[in-house]
C-alpha cells in the first residue's frame, strides 16, 4: 500500500468499456465486417481499374472471372466497381441519415425530457403522427415536393429517423432529472443548458449510440429497397440498391445471378456487421449487464 501511495490511479469508464468490447466476439466480428467493407469502398480506385458508370458494349453480361471479378451487367458495367462505388453512397446515405436523425432526436428529446410540459406534449404528438404515417407514402409525397436526389433521401431519413432517438432520450431524461445529482447541480446554480447537455446527456449516450448503428443499418436497407423500386437515388448514380435494380427482371434473376448476388451480399454483410456491432455496444454500455 505504501509504495503505491504516490501512484495516481486513474481509471476510465471508456477504457474499461473498450476492453469489454474487445472480449465480445460478436461485436469484434461485426466491426471487422463493417471495417473491411467500408475500407474497400473508400479505396475503390485502388481495387478496380474500372469505372462504375462506363459502358462497355463488348463485355455485356459477362459472368464473374478474369478482368471482372463479379462479372458485368447487361450494359457492360463492371459489377465489382458498381458494388464498391455504390457502397460509398449507400453507406454515406445510411450514416448521414442516422447521424442527422440522432442529432435532431437528442436535442429535441433532451429539452422535452428536462422541461416536460406543453413543449413535450407537442413533440410527442408530432412523433406519433410521423411514426403512424406510412413511410412509403411519405417518401412519395416528399419526392414530389423536394424532387429526386441523394440529399432529399437523407432529409426523408432524418425526418423519420429522429423519433426513435427522441423517445429514448426523452425517457432517460424523465428518470435522470429526478436524480439527486441534478438537484445538486441546480443547488449550485449551474445553468440549465449545462445541466442538460453536460451533466444528464452523457448518461443517455450509450443507448443513443446503439440506436445510431441500428438506424444506419436500417437506412441502408431502406435506401436499397427504395432504389430498387425506383423511388430512391436517381438510377444513373451507382448505389447498392440501384445495382440490384439492374437485375429486376425475372429472367435476369435466373440468367445473370451475379448481378444481384454481389450487391445483395454486400448489403447483407454490412448490415449484419453494423447490427452485430450495435448489439455488442448495447451489451457493453448497459450497466445492468455488468
Amino acid at each position: 500500500m505504501s509504495e503505491n501511495k504516490k501512484k495516481i490511479v486513474k481509471s476510465s469508464l471508456a477504457k474499461e468499456n473498450f476492453y469489454k468490447l474487445l472480449h465480445n466476439r460478436l461485436a469484434v466480428l461485426g466491426f471487422m465486417l463493417m471495417f473491411v467493407i467500408l475500407m474497400a469502398c473508400i479505396l475503390a480506385p485502388l481495387l478496380t481499374p474500372h469505372s462504375p458508370t462506363d459502358l462497355n458494349l463488348r463485355h455485356m453480361g459477362k459472368p464473374p472471372g478474369g478482368e471482372h471479378p463479379f462479372g458485368t451487367d447487361k450494359l457492360g458495367r463492371d459489377v465489382f466497381a458498381r458494388v464498391l462505388y455504390g457502397g460509398r453512397i449507400s453507406i454515406a446515405i445510411g450514416l448521414s441519415g442516422a447521424l442527422g436523425g440522432m442529432i435532431l432526436g437528442v436535442i429535441i428529446g433532451s429539452f422535452c425530457g428536462y422541461y416536460g410540459g406543453w413543449l413535450d406534449a407537442i413533440f410527442v404528438k408530432i412523433a406519433e403522427l410521423v411514426s403512424v404515417f406510412p413511410q412509403l407514402l411519405l417518401v412519395m409525397v416528399m419526392r414530389v415536393i423536394l424532387g429526386e436526389g441523394i440529399k432529399n433521401l437523407i432529409i426523408i431519413f432524418v425526418f423519420t429517423g429522429w423519433i426513435a432517438t427522441f423517445r429514448l432520450v426523452r425517457g432517460r431524461f424523465f428518470s435522470l432529472r429526478e436524480e439527486s445529482f441534478v438537484e445538486a447541480c441546480r443547488a449550485f446554480g449551474i445553468r440549465s443548458s449545462s445541466i442538460v447537455f453536460r451533466h444528464i446527456l452523457p448518461n443517455c449516450l450509450g443507448p443513443v449510440i446503439v440506436q445510431l448503428t441500428l438506424n444506419t443499418a436500417g437506412f441502408i436497407l431502406q435506401e436499397a429497397a427504395l432504389s430498387f423500386i425506383g423511388m430512391g437515388v436517381p438510377s444513373g448514380t451507382p448505389t447498392w440498391g440501384n445495382t440490384i435494380n439492374a437485375a429486376k427482371e425475372l429472367l435476369n434473376i435466373t440468367n445473370y445471378p451475379w448481378l444481384w448476388v454481389a450487391p445483395g451480399l454486400a448489403i447483407a454483410f454490412f448490415v449484419l456487421g453494423v447490427n452485430f456491432f450495435g448489439d455488442g455496444l448495447r451489451d457493453v454500455l448497459d450497466p445492468k449487464q455488468q
Partner: protein, 338 residues
Amino acid sequence: MTESNVLLELNNIKKYFPITAGIFRREVGAVRAVDDISLRVYRGETLGLVGESGCGKTTLGKCVVRLLEPNSGSMQYNFGGEMRDLLSLNAQESFAARRKIQMVFQDPYSSLNPMKTIYQSFDEPIRIHSDRNKEERRELIARLLEAVNLHPEYMYRYPHEFSGGQRQRICIARALCVDPELVVCDEPVSALDVSIQAQVLNQMKDLQEKLGLTYIFIAHDLSVVEYMSDRIAVMYLGQVLELAPARSLYDRHIHPYTQALLSAVPVPDIRAKRERIILEGDVPSPADPPQGCRFHTRCQYCHARCVEEMPKLEPLAADPEHFVACHLAEERFAAVGT
C-alpha cells in the same frame, strides 16, 4: 441566541403542490407539504428537523436551498449583518447566494453523476463561484477530500468505485466546495449502514467545528437527531408542533405528538420498562388536513377547542426557548414539572 446571531429566518413559508384533474389540468386541490412554517436558524447551530415520512421535512429543506419555490412567505438571510429576503433577490444576487446555502442529499448513490469523475463533479461549481485557476481548483478539491478523510488521489475515480459511506463523505465535501455557511442535510445517513453512520456523523460534527458551519439536519431517526442537534423542531403534516433545545425536548416534551414520537425510540435495555404510546389511525392526508389542531384526530387529550382553533407555536412562559403549538401546553408543562 441573540438577534444578530440569526442566520436564516423563515416567515410563514408555504409550499403547496397542486393536484390537477381532467384534460385541462384544472387545479382541484393542493397538497400542503409545508403549511405556514416560521423558524429561526442561528449561526453555528444544528437545527434538527424530525417527523414521520411525508410531514414536509424534505420539502422545507428544498425550499431553503431554493430547489423549490415557496408559494408564499419570506426567507430572510443574514448577508454579513444585513437581512435580505432570499426570494426577492435578482438573478445575479440569487446566484451568488446559492454558494451560501448548500445541501447534502439522502441517497449517496444517486447524488454523484456516474459518468463524471469526482474531480469533474467538483470542478464546475468551484469554477463558476470563484476565480480560482485550474491548479488552485485541483488543490482545493484535494484539501476537501482530505477534510473528509479520503485520499486526494481519489478525485480521478468514478463514483461506482466507492462505497456508500465514502460517497456520502464525497457529497459532503462537494457541498463544502463553494464554502457555504448553511448546509441542509437531508437524512444524510439514513441510506447507510449503522456502522458507517457514526463515522459520517462524527465527520460532519468535526467539519462544523472547523469551518463554523450551520446545519439544518433532517432525519427521522430520533437518536441520530439527538446526537447531532442543538435545537430540534418536530414536524407533523407540514407544521412545526414543538421546537426546543435538544436536551429540553428530550427531558420535557410537552406536545402529545412529540411524546408519542419519543416513546417509539428503542431503548437498548431489555429490562427497561417504559410507557409506549401508540397513536391510533393514520396521518391525515396533507391534501385535506383537519380543521383546528392538525394533530387532534389522533390526540388522546383532544377537546372542543382543539377541533375548532389551530394552536400557534408559542414559547412557554417558564422557558422562552421552548416553543409548543398546543392549547394544553402550559397545563402539560406544569404536569411534567421542571
